[in-house]
């Protein structure tokens, strides 16, 4: 029996190399023959005849799985400190098993703890509003004892992961590439940090698979599938975040959205979700309220903290000049660049530069392409 289980796991890892077919099809074929090991023994003609797939697809399945070497793959994973889980293994997340197309194999670097999670997703081109809201929600979730799931992309994803880590919480990043090909490359250090602090970097793709556009929507179903609720922070109509929201709906999970300004293109997606009945999110209590009763029993949601509505405490320690500059910058949602600030206050360059430096060092404002916005 033990040997059989081992062989079935290897077969599933092998079958997982057939990347062009959705896992629900593969699972259906597996159930038809009673397991991946059995499926792989069948000739393509039989699979095509009984499984309802074309002969060409069956041929490709046979060819591509035959070319894979699951033992070498497992050795590669071991070398990188990665566990490979199938639905047969204990650590495979129960919640993920309940979606209709769970990954055949899950590569996990770090630790996939059994805890309630919420997904924070959004665009790579987030506005300062989206970044700071994602960061605050992630922090509050972490403090409430929930894991923060996201996709390690630039923008909202990165802000969510970083804030959860900073709050000492657990965060999970699901990749659209193999774990040896972390994308984007500048987030490699972030991935290491996530795996090293009680969280996990996960992927359903073979270790060495390079990032391919088609695989990113697929990994989104893993993000929503690991989570009780999916919160869209920012994104356009057609963004990946909206794809994740759609997956969450299909999986029967809660879809929530952060309301945004009506004239911001990056809030089109979440505002549309709210119009269609998604729960608007102001803080983590809104998210926790949608969790099943008792899901967050271990830790109460953080007490009502609305400090973000008040001016930051650091403001009190500023010089009068920097205070005036902060007021001018915060008054404009789109922010100001150095020149506009100098003009608005009728200050020379040197005086303006000094107050900007003070604000930037105090992390009260941040610049993007030369525009300063409040953090």
């Amino acid at each position: 029996m033990q040997a059989n289980a081992e062989a079935e796991k290897l077969a599933r890892v092998r079958l997982n190399f057939f990347g062009c077919m959705r896992s629900d099809w593969l699972l259906r074929l597996m159930s038809l023959y009673g397991g991946a090991a059995e499926l792989l023994k069948r000739p393509p003609a039989e699979i095509a005849g009984e499984g309802g797939v074309s002969f060409a697809t069956a041929l490709r399945l046979a060819a591509e799985t035959a070319a894979a070497d699951p033992e070498q793959e497992l050795a590669l994973a071991r070398k990188a400190g990665v566990k490979v889980l199938t639905a047969l293994d204990d650590g495979y997340p129960e919640l993920l098993k309940t979606i209709y197309d769970p990954p055949l194999a899950l590569y996990v670097r770090g630790e996939l703890k059994n805890m309630p999670a919420a997904a924070l997703v959004g665009t790579r081109k987030a506005t300062p509003y989206g970044l700071r809201t994602a960061a605050r929600l992630a922090r509050e979730l972490a403090e409430a004892g929930a894991a923060v799931a996201s996709g390690l992309a630039r923008g909202v994803d990165t802000a969510a992961h970083e804030a959860a880590l900073a709050a000492g919480g657990v965060t999970w990043a699901a990749l659209g590439s193999g774990l040896n090909e972390v994308y984007p490359a500048e987030n490699r250090k972030l991935a290491d940090k996530i795996a090293g602090s009680g969280g996990a970097v996960i992927s359903e793709f073979p270790m060495a698979l390079k990032p391919m556009p088609a695989n990113f929507p697929r990994r989104n179903r893993v993000i929503s599938g690991l989570s009780l609720a999916t919160v869209v922070v920012e994104g356009g109509f057609e963004s990946g975040a909206m794809i994740t929201a759609r997956f969450a709906l299909d999986q029967g999970r809660e879809v929530m959205a952060v309301p945004g300004p009506v004239d911001s293109p990056m809030s089109k997606g979440p505002n549309d979700l709210i119009k269609n009945g998604a729960c608007p999110v102001e803080d983590a209590r809104d998210i926790a309220a949608c969790f099943p009763y008792g899901a967050l029993a271990a830790a109460k949601p953080a007490k009502k903290d609305e400090s973000y509505l008040r001016p930051p405490a650091a403001l009190k320690e500023l010089s009068p000049d920097a205070g005036a500059a902060y007021a001018a910058i915060a008054a404009d949602e789109k922010g100001l660049n150095a020149d506009e600030l100098a003009q608005a206050l009728a200050w020379p360059a040197q005086r303006t530069a000094a107050s900007l430096f003070e604000l930037e060092v105090a992390a009260l404002v941040a610049s993007r392409g030369g525009r300063y916005t409040r953090v």
């Binding site: 020149d339 003009q343 360059a349 303006t352 060092v361």
Partner: protein
């Protein structure tokens, strides 16, 4: 018979003596030029025959050999026509049995037209400067008369071969070259007060002019990058005579000194981004100065900087570091001075609208990263000032007050430059931007509060250690503009503001 005529040739921007020797022997008619002539010199053969005949002389049907000595050095240009023609006339006895003193003691330069008239040539000023100490006379084409006069050498202007031949035989037909009065430089250029807003960009240009710092402007299309750059020259101090002569030499060698005046205004060169690296730096099989040398003692403005070819951008490293360009060829290598202030301009991202107040940027972070990476680190390292520009909103246009006039800024700049002259012992071409590591230590000591600023910039804003030197240099210039002996905290803070491209990428938000 043998004749020797003195003339000059160019290597780089320095002239050297050449003797055009013409030997006419009896034998089958033949005619050859030796002494490493280039194509233009070889063609002198045909021009000289026609010009001599059309000036009313016979061209001897004999065996003629022309040697340009020293024979091992390459000769280029069309100005050997006149000495060769005179050599033929002298060797065939048309100028008298014994060579007249005027032929022996004078230098001759000029290109001949087929009718015997003299055409202006390139490089007259640098060639004549080689004669400065010799007290000898030079005969040049009338078209080069004003340029020749600048050299301070005794020069005569001739308009055709016949005139020259007559003068050699004793007539007084040639006029001395006279100076053309230089156009007054002051007040002629566009003024910085015409640019509204752009407080930081103007301030950055002021600092750049004062410390000879290179500057890069980053801003969306239409934010006034080239408008600012064109007004930058007005902030620089007027050119000294030595600077003028050096720049005029480079213009003369390139055949651009046709107005025949000394270049008194600082050059402003604005090559298009499709320029080849050879045209930018200088090169060619017979080397010519590139745009960097034509901008010598002035401003080189490179708009759309990342669009320049990689080799062109990388080739800027030598002149930015050494203030000269060495064009090495197998047979010779030539050095052109190239001490220019680089003003580069670029968009913040490929579409140009990153950080724009109204329009949305449509670039992906990767595109922005790749665009910025085209300007390599080593080049960015040689640019001390980075400044962000913003488009002026039309609504604000009327409300924005006019800026300071260029003259007021130039006065501050001049004071700062005087301070630097005293600091570096009056050596020419030294500036805050060119400080060595040792000088940096002795001239840029920081007070207590100011070094804390650098630490904050590194820890909180993600500045690299190598950008700290630039911040120090710029702080020194800012202090000089105020006439302050020691760098203060606020000087350093302002300098930090001009190192925008050094902030770590995550913090810069791209």
């Amino acid at each position: 018979m043998l004749a020797k005529i003195s003339t000059l040739a160019l290597k780089g921007i320095d002239g050297f003596f050449v003797s055009a020797e013409v030997y006419i022997a009896s034998g089958l008619p033949a005619y050859a030029i030796v002494g490493l002539p280039d194509a233009a010199v070889k063609e002198a053969r045909e021009r000289v025959v026609a010009a001599v005949r059309n000036s009313g002389f016979d061209f001897p049907s004999k065996r003629i050999t022309v040697n340009l000595a020293p024979a091992e050095r390459k000769k280029a240009g069309t100005h050997f026509d006149l000495p060769i023609a005179l050599g033929v006339l002298a060797a065939s006895g048309k100028l008298g049995k014994t060579p007249p003193a005027r032929l022996e003691e004078s230098f001759f330069i000029g290109e001949l037209a087929l009718d015997g008239s003299l055409r202006p040539v390139a490089g007259v000023l640098p060639m004549l400067l080689a004669l400065r100490d010799s007290k000898r006379t030079a005969v040049v084409p009338a078209g080069n008369s004003a340029e020749a006069a600048v050299s301070g050498v005794k020069c005569l202007a001739a308009s055709n071969l016949k005139q020259v031949a007559d003068w050699i035989s004793g007539s007084d037909g040639l006029n001395a070259c006279g100076m053309v009065p230089a156009a007054e430089a002051a007040g002629s250029g566009p003024d910085l007060s015409e640019v509204k807003g752009q407080t930081f960009a103007k301030r950055a240009l002021e600092i750049a002019a004062a410390g000879f710092h290179n500057v890069i402007m980053v801003g969306p299309p239409g934010s006034g990058k080239s408008m600012l750059a064109k007004r930058f020259g007005g902030l620089l101090p007027p050119m000294g005579l030595d600077e003028s002569i050096e720049t005029t030499k480079l213009y003369s060698v390139s055949g651009l000194a046709s107005a025949g005046r000394l270049v008194r205004e600082r050059p402003f060169r604005e090559p298009h981004h499709t320029i080849s690296d050879a045209a930018l730096i200088g090169g060619g099989s017979s080397p010519r100065p590139g745009e960097v040398s034509l901008a010598h003692n002035g401003v080189l403005f490179l708009d759309e900087f990342p669009e320049f070819s990689r080799p062109a951008i990388e080739a800027l490293r030598e002149p930015l570091e050494a203030f000269k360009v060495t064009v090495a060829r197998v047979k010779e290598s030539v050095v052109y001075p190239a001490r220019f202030l680089l003003v580069a301009a670029m968009n913040p991202c490929p579409c140009g609208y990153l950080g724009h107040s109204v329009r949305e940027c449509s670039c992906t972070p990767l595109q922005v990263h790749k665009y910025r990476a085209r300007v390599s680190g080593p080049i960015l390292d040689r640019i001390d000032l980075h400044v962000q520009l913003s488009p002026v909103k039309y609504a604000d246009w009327e409300a924005v007050p006019k800026g300071e006039p260029s003259a007021a800024i130039a006065a501050r700049v001049l004071k700062a430059i005087e301070l630097q002259k005293a600091r570096f012992g009056g050596r020419d071409g030294r500036s805050n931007a060119a400080m060595t590591a040792g000088e940096l230590r002795s001239h840029c000591a920081l007070p207590e509060g100011a070094s804390a600023v650098l630490e904050l910039a590194m820890n909180k804003l993600g500045f690299s250690a190598r950008s700290l030197d630039k911040i120090l240099k710029v702080s020194r210039t800012i202090a000089d503009l105020e006439g302050a002996a020691a760098i203060k905290r606020e000087h350093v803070i302002e300098a930090v503001q001009y190192r925008m491209l050094d902030k770590s990428e995550a913090l810069a938000g791209i």
